[in-house]
């Protein structure tokens, strides 16, 4: 009993640690200026319509990316937070300038749906396998004595001569 409780406690701790690691993973970001600049220019799209992330737009004579990159530098040196910078760009260039949907309003669905589908499928698969496993045990435990099986046994006995033979 004690051993079980220890295992349970250990399991809960492991899950807690895992959740904490994921929370840290998804919530923190780099903070020094050059890292912030690099991080943020990968959160924005080039506004010229080339479909590239701002930090990676490299086509010759792009009219938009140097302007946007300069604005980004100004915003960072001006002391704005990441969210303020992203909001400012979205207000100026439209929502399509953000390289990923914001995690608010209807766009939150974009982030929730994959996780929800994965968890639902995972849970569904686990439950299905457990149900199959339990069904298998029940089937093994139950006496096999249906009329069809009895008839089949009778037929086998007759055909193999195991009834009244030697």
């Amino acid at each position: 009993m004690n051993k079980q409780r220890t295992h349970l406690r250990f399991g809960i701790r492991a899950v807690q640690a895992l959740l904490l690691a994921f929370a840290v993973c998804f919530s923190l970001g780099a903070t020094d200026a050059s890292a912030r600049y690099d991080h943020l220019n990968h959160q924005l799209m080039c506004g010229c319509g080339c479909g590239q992330v701002l930090g990676e737009c490299n086509h010759v004579g792009c009219p938009q990316s140097p302007v946007q990159l300069a604005e980004l530098r100004t915003d960072i040196s001006g002391g704005k937070t990441d969210q303020e910078i992203l909001d400012g760009f979205a207000a100026k260039y439209g929502m399509t300038v953000l390289a990923a949907p914001p995690a608010k309003g209807f766009d939150l669905v974009a982030w929730i749906a994959p996780v929800a589908v994965f968890l639902a499928a995972l849970l569904g698969t686990i439950l299905l396998i457990r149900q199959w496993a339990v069904g298998k045990k029940d089937a093994a435990a139950a006496p096999v004595s249906t009329p069809e099986m009895d008839a089949l046994r009778e037929k086998i006995r007759r055909e193999t001569g195991s009834e009244g033979g030697y």
Binding site: C25, D32, E56, V60, M95, P101, A110, P114, A121, G135
Partner: protein, 687 residues
């Protein structure tokens, strides 16, 4: 030539329609056993022959288009828009798939080629092949109708014929573009064949799992083509687009990746059906979904529903594809409902920790990844519909959502082969997992020691964290697979007295499928290691005057010249850079920027120096108009060559898996070839 091409396409459509109609009537007559004025077997054979003739008609049309490109027949609109006189010969071939009409003709030709091979091999199982051939004919009818009526490649130009064409899109003027699209299309189109077999087997209530064995080679070959196509596309993006990366989560890339994921899931779960008679309905739906995803991908990228960096061909053929997809879905659902009792599983999974359940989880993860990509690709449309404004779903979304899923899949790649079938004991788990766990822990410690840490300047770095997890899992999975090889080889070495290398060879030959699969998994591990390298990419940009230098990583680049060149096809600016490492000159690089004369479009020609540990990747960004000096951007991309090396191993592993196994019995006693059963007899008696 335009008339010849158009006529060939009309004839091909007529033949495919006859193949479909006559084949369907014949199979119906055979199934019901109703008397008919013509022998159903003979009718089925005429349908098959029409299918074969159809291949020659489409080949004639494809030849007509290629001939027109080579003879600069600018009276044909397609040729005028996608070629020009100065275009090198290799790229004139590429013109065949550079636009909507040509690429659909290529699709038809590849479909015709697959159909041709399938119909020639009909004696393997006449009835099943007749069903598959008829279903394939239905797909051919659709695509041939599209190229005849919605996107005709031979439509003539109105007005005066220009002296020269607009030229080929500069992005396509790269050697890989001559092989990447055909390989990708071979993969896309190829999934029509397993789809046709699966649907046919379901329609005819094919007894047993033999149809899976018959289609196994088709599926593997198709998967191989798609894999090669995707990776060649990555390499092309890396070498041509000049942004230092190889995968941008663009809708066109996503469109090719989704059927690959479901196809991979099918190849895994189909083993459960073969070995245990399980997951029959699941497998049928996997292959249905894979085929539907190839259609959806085509619809998304060609109908202008989603914008893409490299959607070369967009038009209004979307409605055609939507209707066809609707028909395919309806037929699949109808057939499934009608025949679902035929798909009842013989066995069920008995334990949560077993080989069977690992296959289930593998499928779950692959399908979740497919859903995530589909969801991300379609979400801008959904968002626009709900909110009235579009949003962008780009790399940050996929990196955050898809990368953890990918790592979980990598974990399963290692765990799956270590679990026995049916169920496993705690002792077996301990025994099998000790070495991979040690490898995992050791790699984490080594990575932390050498500086791969999930934090930088006291802050958490998700890129480094994923790289650390990726490296550790890769080491663990590699060890797990290696131990499988060693365990098997040691047994053979003990039995035969051969050395370990020879025993490993015998082991692989005895079960090519299993060990070919393991080789593919090692290839995947190597690819993942290469992908993890992206977390440590570095780049720098500078305008360089003569003898100016710039540094990236251990390299120093010195500009020793910048000049211009021109030929009939393009003008180019390029810089000559001497590369030094440790004060010694190592080699010279010449990044280039071209402007193609016909289209007046610029194009980057990246200079790449690749070694095992990293790529030095140099881009000629442009010329400063004031100083006339080149602006150079240099990247140091670690481990990129591992990606391409991993792909080579994946290809090798697939070839091994395709090779027939040589069991000890067949190795020593060669059986005589089986007698061929007359086609008619099989067709009559096989129902």
């Amino acid at each position: 030539m335009a008339t010849f091409g158009s006529l060939s396409l009309i004839i091909a459509l007529a033949l495919a329609a006859y193949n479909l109609f006559a084949g369907a009537v014949a199979l119906r007559l055979i199934a019901t056993g109703r008397p008919a004025p013509i022998s159903p077997e003979r009718l089925a054979d005429t349908a098959r022959r029409a299918g074969i003739a159809g291949f020659f008609a489409v080949t004639a049309a494809a030849f007509a288009l290629v001939y027109s490109v080579f003879t600069n027949d600018f009276s044909i609109t397609y040729i005028m828009e996608h070629s020009n006189r100065a275009l090198p010969a290799a790229y004139k071939f590429a013109a065949l798939w550079s636009g909507q009409e040509g690429s659909l003709l290529l699709w038809c030709w590849l479909l015709g080629t697959y159909g041709f091979v399938l119909r020639l091999r009909h004696k393997t199982d006449v009835k099943l092949y007749a069903y598959a051939g008829t279903i394939l004919a239905a797909i051919q009818v659709f695509f041939l109708a599209v190229v005849n009526f919605a996107a005709p490649p031979f439509s003539l130009l109105r007005g005066a014929i220009p002296a020269d064409g607009n030229g080929l899109n500069p992005l396509l003027q790269y050697p890989e573009m001559v092989i990447h699209p055909p390989l990708l299309y071979l993969g896309y189109v190829g999934f029509s064949v397993p789809f046709a077999f699966a649907l046919g087997a379901l329609m005819m209530r094919y007894p047993g799992e033999k149809w899976i064995k018959i289609t196994r080679v088709w599926t593997l070959v198709t998967w191989l083509f798609l894999t090669c196509g995707i990776f060649l596309g990555m390499h092309w993006a890396y070498a041509v687009l000049g942004w230092g990366g190889y995968w941008g989560w663009d809708p066109v890339e996503n469109a090719s990746f989704m059927p690959w994921l479901t196809g991979t899931a099918f190849m895994h779960s189909v083993m459960m059906q073969e070995k245990k008679g399980m997951m029959k309905s699941w497998n049928v739906w996997l292959i249905f979904s894979t085929f539907l995803l190839t259609l959806l991908g085509t619809l998304l990228t060609r109908a202008g529903l989603v914008s893409s960096v490299h959607a070369f061909a967009q038009s209004s053929i979307g409605s055609w594809f939507m209707v066809f997809m609707g028909i395919v879905i309806a037929v699949c659902i109808f057939t499934f409902i009608l025949q679902r009792d035929h798909l009842r599983s013989d066995y069920q999974v008995e334990s949560l920790v077993s080989r069977e359940s690992s296959f289930l989880f593998n499928n779950l993860v692959l399908l979740t990844a497919c859903f995530v990509i589909l969801w991300g690709t379609l979400f801008p449309i959904l968002s626009e519909y709900v909110e009235g404004s579009k949003v962008t779903v780009g790399a940050p979304f996929y990196n955050r959502v898809a990368v953890p899923i990918g790592l979980f899949l990598l974990f399963l790649t290692g765990v799956g082969p270590l679990l026995p079938w049916r169920s496993t004991s705690l002792r077996a788990i301990r025994r099998n997992f000790v070495i991979p766990s040690i490898a995992l822990a050791t790699t984490i410690i080594v990575c932390l020691a050498v500086g791969v840490r999930p934090w930088k300047d006291g802050q958490f770095d998700s890129g480094n964290f994923y790289a650390l997890v990726g490296f550790a899992l890769s080491a663990s999975v590699f060890t797990a697979i290696l131990s499988e090889f060693l365990r098997g080889a040691a047994v053979i070495a003990k039995q035969t007295g051969k050395n370990l290398a020879a025993s490993t060879y015998v082991l692989i030959r005895r079960n090519t499928r299993r060990y070919g699969g393991y080789i593919i998994h090692i290839g995947v591990v190597i690819v993942v290691i290469g992908l993890c390298g992206a977390a440590f990419n570095r780049n720098t940009e500078r305008e360089l005057a003569l003898h100016d230098t710039m540094s990236v990583g251990p390299y120093t680049l010195e500009c020793v010249g910048f000049t211009q060149d021109s030929n009939a096809n393009y003008n180019s600016d390029y810089a000559l850079l001497d590369v030094y490492k440790g004060g010694k000159k190592q080699f010279q690089m010449a990044p280039e920027k071209r402007v193609y004369l016909a289209s007046q479009q610029p194009q980057t020609m990246v200079a790449v120096h690749s070694v095992l540990s990293w790529d030095l990747y140099v881009v000629y960004e442009g010329t400063n108009p004031e100083s006339g000096q080149p602006i150079i951007k240099a990247f140091l991309n670690p481990l990129v060559s591992w990606i391409w090396a991993g792909v080579v191993l994946i290809v090798f592993g697939t070839f091994v898996a395709l090779a027939p196994s040589q069991t000890p019995v067949t190795a020593s006693v060669r059986l005589p070839a089986a007698r061929t059963v007359p086609a008619e007899a099989v067709l009559k008696g096989g129902d």
